[in-house]
């Protein structure tokens, strides 16, 4: 029992990060109907920038904000110069290929600047201590992860449902053409969503490397895949679904590693993904199509 609970706790800690990746991923999917397969590499690029700033002696909060800004700029640039022209011509499949292309370019630029070797991420800014509750070891960082994820999800929900610009995001996601007729500047809303997805995602990737302490360019594609799987499990485009999907993915991963085999992890995860795509394409709380008359 203790082992089981310990695995669940570890899983929830990782799941918080997955939720942060999935929420941005789901939002950008909804806004253009496009799989943003350069998401993870954008985040890793920004995380390398943060790594460089930290190594250069920049204080953590400033480095984090600058890294988020870099991530947001890259995401908005990819949207504006790669996705928007292709989506505008109704070439969704080409836009997807463009996304993969952008991901590879980012990855190569990272290796050109920082080399291929795995970097040790300076982690001193976050406590690496453990809380002992009963027989369980609860990493403080896991609590930070979950706290960040819940705070971000709540903030997103409030922003989207209450604020004027949040409502404009919702409107663009549901009908871009009609949203334009409301006087909403659709291009700006799309850029805002891409920027936000990177800001939130960078928070997740920084928490991730702070825990593992190693920063590797290959992480980018991992992030994209985990965001994708978590978003599908939760119901793509649903904000709360991203939290549920992220936490579920984290726990399932931890249980597979604890009870089955670490080697089987990716095969089983993709198996689960396929089951969801086939049997539950709307995820746990994704919505069905509305009744249209």
């Amino acid at each position: 029992m203790t082992t089981f609970l310990q695995q669940v706790i570890n899983g929830l800690g990782a799941g918080g990060q997955y939720a942060l990746w999935a929420v941005g991923y789901g939002l950008v999917y909804q806004i253009l109907g496009l799989m943003h397969f350069a998401h993870g590499d954008t985040l890793i690029f920004a995380t390398f920038v943060i790594f460089a700033l930290l190594t250069g002696g920049v204080p953590f909060p400033i480095a984090l904000v600058l890294g988020m800004a870099v991530g947001a700029l890259i995401a908005m640039g990819i949207e504006k110069f790669v996705y928007r022209p292709l989506v505008g011509r109704n070439q969704l499949l080409l836009a997807f290929v463009g996304a993969l292309g952008a991901a590879y370019i980012l990855r190569n630029v990272v290796t050109l600047i920082w080399g291929v070797q795995t970097k040790v991420f300076p982690y001193e800014f976050l406590s690496n201590s453990l809380l002992h509750v009963g027989g369980l070891r609860i990493p403080v960082l896991a609590l930070v992860n979950i706290g960040c994820a819940v705070a971000v999800i709540v903030a997103f929900e409030v922003f989207l449902s209450r604020s004027r610009s949040g409502q404009s995001v919702v409107a663009v996601a549901q009908d871009r053409g009609a949203a334009a007729l409301m006087g909403i500047k659709v291009g700006k809303v799309v850029a805002l969503v891409y920027g936000l997805s990177a800001v939130v995602g960078v928070l997740g990737s920084v928490l991730y490397v702070a825990q593992s302490r190693s920063l590797d360019v290959a992480l980018g594609f991992d992030i994209t895949l985990k965001a994708f799987i978590a978003a599908i499990i939760g119901g793509i485009g649903s904000i709360r679904g991203a939290l549920i999907g992220g936490l579920t993915l984290g726990v399932v991963e931890a249980l597979i590693q604890g009870y089955i085999s670490t080697l089987m992890l990716n095969a089983l995860l993709f198996g689960i993904l396929i089951v969801f795509l086939l049997a539950l394409p709307n995820g746990f709380i994704g919505r069905r199509e509305a009744v249209r008359l």
Partner: protein
């Protein structure tokens, strides 16, 4: 002049839909655009609201040249398009749909009051204001679409087929609402298939056939039968009518 359209050409790709339309809409008047399917009525409204960039010609709103501008410029100039097929935001509540119509307004409190007033006025949707718009009936959706357009406080309201696909009772209700607006001197450019309803409401009528205006004049001078007869004329002879 509230709206002045000069030599408007528009189309999709290589297909030319509108060839050289010129007309004007005076403030406070209701102008009906009638014509058979495929005459270019909806394309006309799309061009006048920035949804479709004209190939040639000019669109002036209160003398300001907005040709080629994006939709938000037209909305800010007071030209608000209530599109064909209603185009609800299906997962947003009826109330949120209506409220987002006032997106460009800065008087948030007055907007809240206007939203309340709108739902108080229409029993047919007041009980369903928290329902997702996608789950409303066609008539209810059309009312919500109208309210959404009105929240922008349009100087010129562009209405595309407000009776399309509605039950007769819902059509009556919609035209009741439009008569109220006309009585308040709301300027409207109305595209309709239903000539009888449109002629009863409008002051002026444009008949569009094959992308050209074959008749323009006061509604008092033509009947729905006259208009139907024009549909079968070739554009060239129509100009003389």
């Amino acid at each position: 002049m509230l709206l002045k359209v000069e030599g408007l050409h528009a189309g999709y790709g290589l297909t030319r839909v509108l060839s050289g339309l010129s007309f004007a809409v005076q403030a406070g008047s209701v102008v009906a655009v009638l014509g058979p399917n495929g005459a270019g009525k909806s394309t006309l409204l799309r061009a006048v609201s920035g949804m479709r960039v004209p190939v040639a010609g000019r669109i002036l709103v209160e003398g300001e040249d907005l040709t080629g501008c994006a939709e938000h410029r037209f909305v800010r100039a007071g030209v608000v398009h209530c599109p064909e097929g209603r185009r609800m935001f299906p997962y947003m509540s009826a109330e949120a749909n209506v409220r987002i119509g006032g997106f460009t307004r800065s008087d948030r409190q007055q907007l809240d009051r206007d939203v309340d007033d709108f739902f108080d006025r229409w029993d047919a949707i007041s009980e369903r204001r928290r329902t997702a718009a996608g789950q409303l009936s066609g008539g209810q959706q059309q009312l919500v679409a109208l309210g959404r357009a009105l929240m922008a406080r349009p100087r010129l309201l562009l209405l595309d087929e407000p009776s399309l696909g509605l039950a007769p009772v819902a059509v009556q209700q919609m035209y009741g609402a439009l008569r109220e607006l006309a009585a308040q001197r709301q300027s409207i450019l109305l595209v309709e298939q239903n000539a009888r309803h449109a002629l009863a409401l409008a002051d002026q009528v444009l008949v569009l056939v094959g992308g050209e205006i074959v008749h323009a004049g006061p509604t008092s001078e033509v009947s729905a039968e006259d208009v139907a007869g024009m549909y079968f004329k070739s554009p060239g002879e129509g100009a003389a009518a």
